[in-house]
């Protein structure tokens, strides 16, 4: 652990800007979006959530895959070599989300485009001491603490930050800088105090244990709740755009008017959109909104856990915040848990 006095934060960021593109949350019309900062004064570490998660720097909403010439039939990969980038002030939920994406994009067919961006990206996270907004349920999902494999992690101690270094890449961001102090005994005490004090601040939660989530969802496949919630779902897809772990994409070709120079691109897709599961011949594997909604929840709470050992939901609450029909994961999952309970009790009383 190191200590960074708050008055040195700007100096640190300016030093980073000399060698890196520094990306951080920036306030715009009362909400925050991650953007490159042009000036250390623009840096905000204390923010509610961001509209789009910082994954947009690793998996851009629209990305070139390769270029082709339709006349000569030549093609060349387009893998953008980004400049070294530091993403500042990630909440730990977003860090957990990136841990999952790293796993997904690095398993089996590793995604070269993701890897190229990820290699050049260093993450500076910040300890959340209070809920960033009403819909956040990170504590229930186990994402309120920093995951393994972080780079640099900051904890606000009032007039200073405790700085934990979790990787070599992280070490490089502070190496040789006299801005960072060695901690004294009192600093450790304050860290312990802050860490112990923060947990009671997070009271919005799942009614079931997070480890029970895959079983709850498996048992709820035929629940009538999917139809009930499916009726209110607008299928606007916002929840999938703001989700820090969604990575589904569609592939498109674009070509110039002379039908010569073209690009194959990918764009973020959304499993809540009607056409998502339509296959050649026109059959739709998930033909109702209820099924599409159920798929999304099962994927986040069950399938991804089975495939990667990590849940696909980190409890950031962005989907709940952006839903015009007020569908929230907590509302939906707690209702499923509540409806299962009487049935389980009945079953146990019978046996």
């Amino acid at each position: 652990m190191k200590i960074l006095p708050k008055h040195s934060l700007k100096a640190w960021v300016e030093r980073l800007r000399a060698t890196h593109r520094v990306v951080a949350p920036r306030e715009t019309y009362g909400q925050y979006i991650f953007e490159e900062i042009e000036n250390a004064d623009d840096l905000v570490l204390d923010y509610h959530t961001s509209v789009l998660p910082p994954k947009k720097y690793l998996l851009p909403p629209r990305e070139d895959l390769f270029a082709f010439n339709a006349k000569t039939m030549e093609m060349s990969p387009l893998i953008e070599e980004i400049q070294p980038t530091v993403i500042m002030a990630l909440h730990t939920c977003d860090l957990h989300a990136i841990t999952l994406l790293d796993k997904i994009q690095g398993t089996g067919h590793t995604d070269q485009h993701y890897q190229a961006r990820r290699r050049k990206t260093t993450l500076v996270s910040i300890e959340c001491l209070k809920p960033c907004m009403d819909h956040a349920f990170c504590k229930s999902m186990g994402t309120l603490a920093v995951p393994e494999g972080f780079d640099v992690h900051l904890t606000d101690l009032g007039d200073r930050y405790a700085v934990d270094i979790g990787s070599e890449q992280g070490e490089q961001l502070i190496e040789g800088l006299s801005l960072f102090w060695e901690p004294v005994e009192a600093d450790y005490d304050r860290v312990n105090q802050v860490m112990a004090g923060k947990w009671p601040n997070f009271d919005y939660r799942l009614d079931c244990d997070v480890t029970d989530l895959p079983d709850l969802l498996a048992a709820s496949q035929d629940s009538a709740l999917w139809d009930e919630v499916g009726d209110t779902c607008l299928a606007c897809g916002q929840c999938t755009k703001v989700c820090p772990t969604c990575y589904c994409f569609d592939v498109l070709d674009e070509i110039d008017l002379k039908l010569e120079h073209g690009k194959r691109i990918r764009v973020w897709d959304s499993c809540l959109i009607e056409k998502f599961a339509v296959v050649a011949g026109g059959h739709n594997f998930r033909s109702s909104q209820a099924r599409r909604l159920r798929h999304r929840f099962l994927r986040k709470g069950k399938y991804q856990f089975e495939s990667y050992g990590l849940l696909g939901c980190v409890g950031c609450g962005r989907c709940a915040l952006s839903c015009p029909a007020h569908i929230t994961p907590i509302g939906l999952l707690n209702t499923l848990a509540e409806r299962r309970r009487p049935a389980t009790e009945e079953a146990s009383s019978r046996s």
Binding site: T28, Y29, G30, Q31, I33, V51, L52, P61, D231, T232, C233, L234, A235, C236, G237, Q238, K241, V242, E254, I255, D256, L257, K258, L259, W268, S270, I273, E274, K275, Q289, L321, S322, P324, A325
Partner: protein, 251 residues
């Protein structure tokens, strides 16, 4: 050989054709790949030998039908351009009112001098191969539609709602601002131009394939809109489509 292209207009403001003209200025290479043989708003020459017809405007009187059918017979491909041709446009607002009242309101005691009937999209009269939606159309989408036609396929337009595009621009959601928006039920493709300028979506690109009208009405009610205001909001561009959903098609 370059395909021969003609432009036509029925009841409309011709703003979509103005947008086509602007597209020609931005993409002059369009003229290298298509041959425009008829375009009243842009040129004097006029030929009825064409393969692709772009039609702006809705059909608002029985006598329009014959002309529209003629175009269909001549053209191999007919594309509806803009909200009027695609949806009946704002001309269709009157479809929810007694036609006689409408005629009297507009023409007064001369109402019998003018022929009219409920406004309808081109697709109510002839088979339309594809649409370029919007009020007005989007320049880049027009150029893309031409590219697709040159590739021998029908222009592909987004089949997902505006919210998707709006979210990607990281606009503040109109609903979170306490305002109202038809983004969740409206077809994307305009890059959320209205919400980006602080104005909720009016639905000019038409409904998405399976709109949840019950839920959007509830969302609008929650933001303080009365039933009348909601109906009005859904009638600016969506009268024909919503009436169709209610099973009403004008005679």
């Amino acid at each position: 050989m370059k395909p021969k292209v003609a432009f036509f207009e029925f009841t409309s403001c011709e703003g979509c054709q103005l947008t086509v003209l602007d597209t020609l200025q931005r993409h002059p290479e369009l003229l290298e790949v298509i041959e425009i043989v008829q375009f009243r708003e842009a040129m004097t020459e006029r030929s009825d030998d064409y393969q692709i017809a772009f039609i702006e405007g809705s059909c608002t009187r029985p006598s329009d039908e014959e002309k529209i059918r003629e175009i269909r017979t001549q053209a191999q491909i007919v594309i509806a351009v803009g909200a009027c041709a695609h949806l009946g446009g704002i001309n269709a607002i009157r479809n929810r009112m007694p036609l006689d009242d409408v005629r009297e309101y507009v023409y007064g005691d001369k109402k019998d001098w003018f022929e009219t009937y409920p406004a309808r999209p081109l697709s109510a009269v002839i088979k339309v191969d594809a649409v370029i939606p919007g009020c007005p159309i989007d320049r880049d989408e027009f150029a893309m539609a031409v590219t697709h036609l040159l590739q021998g396929r029908m222009p592909a337009i987004p089949d997902y709602p505006l919210c998707i595009e709006c979210k990607l621009t990281e606009n503040v959601c109109m609903f979170l601002r306490g305002q109202t928006c038809l983004g969740p039920i409206t077809r994307a493709g305009c890059d959320a131009i209205c919400p980006s300028c602080g104005q909720g979506c009016e639905g000019c690109r038409g409904l998405v394939p399976s709109p949840n009208l019950g839920s959007i009405k509830e969302a609008l009610r929650e933001r303080g809109m009365t039933e009348e205001q909601i109906d009005a909001r859904l009638s600016l561009f969506l009268t024909y489509q919503t009436m169709q959903m209610d099973g009403v098609t004008p005679a």
